[in-house]
């Protein structure tokens, strides 16, 4: 009870104070609105819909299967199917969403929709400055706000997007090869293009 412990503690705080001026290790924060840290690759906030090509309406990967709508724990996804089918990247006829709404005020950023999606159509965004004074319309996002091009996905999650692109390219080649083989039955198999892993290099 002689105050030595308090003095020891004060020396520690003084070291930290002085250290914060020259030691990067001790200075761990940045001044937020002026400076932001780049998000890490795995970071996730709210979902977005991926589309291929230049046109969001035509290239949407979503096939309105409603798996994500069923699995979403807080039930923040609302889908209405468009019964007019459109061909997907393999040329197969698929349904499309007429309405795809996500109430981002309800979404809890768990990423389960991404995990269960069999079409790689929904992925996690990294936007976070979403505050608005319009509680209802401003936080209920439709296809218009949710659809983002594949290049955007590539920019956010490079590793995952490259893997998916490679797989899709391979599938497309396989389908083409199968179609070609069907069209020209007598043609020798050696002429078929090999299912090369081209997308991975991109």
């Amino acid at each position: 009870m002689n105050g030595a412990g308090i003095i020891k503690g004060m020396i520690e705080t003084a070291r930290n104070l002085a250290g914060s001026y020259h030691d990067k290790e001790r200075l761990t924060t940045v001044q937020y609105p002026e400076e932001t840290l780049p998000p890490v690759e795995n970071a996730r906030t709210i979902p977005f819909l991926v589309y291929d090509g230049g046109d969001a309406a035509a290239g949407l990967r979503c096939t309105a299967c409603t798996i994500c709508e069923k699995e979403c724990p807080p039930q923040c996804i609302y889908i209405v199917k468009d019964m007019a089918k459109k061909p997907d990247y393999l040329g197969k006829m698929q349904l499309h969403p007429k309405v795809f709404d996500i109430d981002i005020a309800v979404c809890m950023s768990c990423g389960i929709c991404v995990e269960v999606c069999p079409f790689d159509a929904i992925k996690m965004d990294q936007v976070f400055e979403l505050s608005t004074d319009d509680r209802f319309g401003g936080l209920l996002w439709g296809i218009k706000q949710l659809a983002k091009p594949n290049e955007y996905f590539q920019k956010l999650h490079r590793t995952e997007a490259s893997e998916i692109d490679a797989r899709r390219e391979q599938d497309r080649r396989k389908t083409q090869a199968a179609a070609a083989a069907k069209a020209a039955v007598p043609a020798p198999a050696a002429n078929l293009p090999p299912p090369a892993n081209k997308g991975a290099a991109a």
């Binding site: 412990g5 503690g9 520690e12 001790r26 795995n42 724990p73 809890m108 990423g111 389960i112 269960v116």
Partner: protein, 381 residues
Amino acid sequence: MMASHSLTAAEEAAGGQQLLEVSMGPQHPSTHGVFRMDVTLDGETVVRLKPVFGYLHRNHEKIAEKCSYLGSIPYTDRLDYICSLTNNWAYALTVEKLAGLAAPERAEYIRVILAELTRLINHSCLAGFLLQDMGAAGTPLMYAFREREKILDLFESLTGARMMCDYMRFGGCRCDLPPGWIEQARSVAAHYPAFLDEFEALLTDNEIVRARTEGVGVLGAQLAVNAGITGPMLRASGVNYDIRKVDKYGVYGRFDFRVPLGERGDTFDRYMIRILEMRESLKILQQALRDIPEGPIMDPKARLRNLRPKPGEAYARIEGPKGELGFYVISDGGSNPYRYRIRPPSLINLTILEDLCLGQTIADAVVILGSVDIVLGEVDR
């Protein structure tokens, strides 16, 4: 600090003294969330204390019974929101028991690493909050949060989120470690002892900390066992009970670590136990980061969607940073649990708050509550 007297409400009433009722909370900054203590005071001495909680009740158990098994995992993150990964683990372990799944070895190691990192976060934060409650405004808490940020960076680069990790799955983990993660984790584990030394230099020998904590809120071993107290709070009272040692769930049987025990069961012991446990956690971390094998991270039998375990029931528990965290799930063969129940360590450790506070001053009641280590998300569910 004045020596404590053991006075009961009846004695006070018999003495004809006027008692004062104070409602502390639910917005009081020292109640660790929306928690209220109805304290009856004689002068400054606590003669009666009634904990009031439920302000943060979110119907978690009922929601989980309406949700698929998978859909409950993000909700478990929000129980004890400082330790989302251990919550995930306890729930995943229960459903694995129910559905007959087993996580591969690599996944088990990842789980141990994440659980021990979570324990570091929880105990650092607890020490910081405890000091905040004593009036050391900010400094220890900010030091603890500075170290916590480094661990949260690890969580973010692995799971995508800093607090609501939603990472463990039935039969394994959601994704593998990104490149360079192990090295980063090793570096965090290597730098942590320096922080603990610094933290201890700041606090452990500090006369004010000693005066405010020694002999305050003494919890006897017998009461602790009878009340079902678990975790660091039980061990601070000298009872050697650590589920990591008792059950050896996961791969905990392979690690060499000790279980620190307190002697007096006072607030200082509860603080010190946490510091010592962090040092043991670092030992486990170093061994796990050294031995982690390559391999798959998911049980091949595991399916993400449409999990329908056979009818039956399962209870699994882990040594969470706050105590025994258990989940009890009954399946009727459907796609959602028939009954889903959580054994929350925060709530059960809170039940003896009155016994600890009787006869102490109101300022000590704040410190005692801080040393119990509650998170209201878990108390109220």
